[in-house]
């Protein structure tokens, strides 16, 4: 018996990842990430509805992700965006159409890759692994193909969502404290990056990480 709700959450996360590849508006990219994080936050609950019992651990993951990733992180990113008064990614290193195409290719690759790595235990959904791989690659693609610092942070976050999905295969392997540590580290990372973006904007009048090129050999 497949779990339709779980499938929908996973596929929605993937679609939002693809959408963030196609958008030029930084605000939209942040919104897509936030919606994606919400989909991903549901996954631990949806995995467990199959066995009937919802563990405290799943609720904890859901709540922590909701608070930190769905609300907290976008709040900080939007704030540094406001400070920076930059709205759109104007000149990506790779065009939007091309990135979309490459993204599609990477997703196909992820599905192929997932086949090469059969899990020791059957996961809750056979889409879990391929979609986790896909988010990972979409995030990396965003980081390398965009020039705005904010979009790169979004790429990093999407990548992190993919890793989170991997982590859900084995929900109990990370004790609570360490899970909190992982999530808090992510949150602080975005916080620190937000501060750096703010400083970049003040020092250079742009947040174009591609123009940061005075350091080289």
């Amino acid at each position: 018996m497949t779990n339709v709700a779980l499938d929908i959450a996973l596929v929605l996360a993937l679609v939002l990842g693809i959408a963030s590849l196609g958008t030029s508006r930084l605000g939209a990219a942040i919104r897509y990430f936030s919606m994606q994080a919400a989909c991903v936050a549901m996954v631990p609950l949806l995995i467990e509805t199959r066995s009937g019992e919802l563990s405290i651990h799943a609720w904890f993951l859901f709540a922590a992700t909701m608070v930190l990733k769905v609300a907290g992180v976008p709040y900080f990113l939007n704030r540094s965006l406001r400070e920076a008064s930059v709205r759109t990614e104007i000149e990506p290193l790779i065009g939007f159409g091309t990135t979309l195409g490459i993204g599609g290719g990477l997703v196909a690759l992820s599905f192929a890759l997932a086949r090469q790595l059969p899990l020791p235990q059957k996961p809750a959904s056979d889409l879990l692994i391929p979609i986790a791989f896909s988010l990972l690659m979409i995030g990396l693609l965003l980081i390398v193909s965009r020039t705005k610092a904010v979009t790169q942070v979004v790429g990093y976050l999407i990548m992190e969502n993919g890793i989170f999905l991997f982590g859900l295969i084995l929900i109990d392997v990370f004790p609570y404290l360490i899970e909190i540590g992982v999530l808090l580290d992510l949150f602080v990372a975005v916080f620190v990056m937000g501060i750096v973006i703010f400083h970049i904007n003040r020092a250079f009048d742009h947040i174009d990480s591609h123009q940061l090129d005075s350091l080289k050999d």
Partner: protein, 304 residues
């Protein structure tokens, strides 16, 4: 008897769709809008008129609308309308023929436009072909995804009967429907790809090609366009409402579904702005990517 009913729906129903769309748009704009049956009146009016032909045109120009309509009607014969109404013509591989018939129809229209020798129509033809080339992969990937899921290459087998596949392929089908709606909008020159109401030279894609046709020829073109809308709509409706019922209830259900489809198109047209020309390829690529994603999801399940 059933075939007759099928053909009757096929021939008579399509011109209703643009009427519904226009009413929805009018309602959104706060107008009353033209009657729902406006296209039928227009067709009747145009058919009684004579045609004017430019002296520079040849028989290709005259053949264009006829060939286009013929291609679309043949394509329509391949499409089932639901369990009770299988396609009048069905054989393995008819999905490919269907896609190529749509292409053949466009080819005839484009040739007719080029035949006028006007640079204006040439520009429209080039745009039409460019966007069609980008919409084609999305259409084919969607068809391939469906074919994989149902394990058949015939529309009748693919779209009729209960759709047991929904609980297995739900998210994939949702993405396929999304991709097909984008293809339908692009193929039928609707917003956000093209605006069927505008006659502004710089932005027109499809309308520009048919400006030189008049009288019965133009009636054929309008009728053909409504059939094309009907065809892509029917696929989406069958996919989205995979229900079966007694034949009378079924026909009612299907037609209601088509009306809903037209309303959705109307809503899209009222709420979205027309895209800048250079953004169109990007959206079509996105449609292809979604269709590909759907196929990937289906692939994983098919072999499991």
């Amino acid at each position: 008897m059933r075939t007759a009913l099928h053909l009757a729906i096929l021939m008579a129903f399509p011109p209703l769709l643009p009427g519904v769309i226009n009413r929805v748009k009018a309602a959104f704009a706060g107008r009353r809008g033209p009657p729902v049956l406006q296209l039928y009146f227009d067709l009747w009016k145009l058919l009684r008129k004579g045609a004017v032909y430019s002296t520079t045109t040849t028989w290709i120009f005259r053949a264009g609308p006829v060939v286009t309509l013929a291609a679309l009607l043949v394509a329509a014969l391949l499409l089932p309308l639901g369990g009770g109404l299988p396609a009048p013509a069905a054989f393995p591989g008819d999905v490919v023929l269907f896609a190529y018939l749509l292409g053949a129809g466009r080819f005839a229209t484009v040739l007719a436009a080029l035949d006028t020798g006007s640079s204006f129509e040439g520009m429209g033809a080039s745009r039409e072909v460019t966007f069609a080339a980008l919409a084609e992969p999305a259409l084919f990937l969607s068809i391939a995804g469906l074919a994989l899921a149902r394990g058949t290459l015939s529309w009748t087998a693919m779209l009729s009967g209960q759709m047991p596949a929904w609980h297995l392929y739900g998210p994939a089908f949702a993405m396929l429907i999304g991709a097909l709606i984008l293809v339908a909008l692009a193929e039928n020159s609707r917003i956000p790809f093209d605006d069927p109401n505008t006659h502004l030279e710089l932005t027109m894609v499809h309308e520009v090609m048919v400006l030189d046709h008049s009288g019965p020829d133009f009636a054929l073109i309008l009728y053909g366009a409504s059939i094309k809308l009907f065809l892509l709509g029917a696929i989406i409706v069958r996919l989205a409402f995979p229900f079966e019922a007694s034949i009378r209830a079924h026909v009612a259900l299907f037609l209601a579904g088509m009306i809903v489809f037209a309303v959705v198109v109307g809503l899209v047209e009222s709420t979205f702005a027309r895209l800048r020309m250079n953004r169109i390829p990007q959206i079509l690529i996105a449609a292809s990517v979604f269709a590909a994603l759907a196929m990937a999801v289906i692939l994983i399940r098919v072999n499991a």
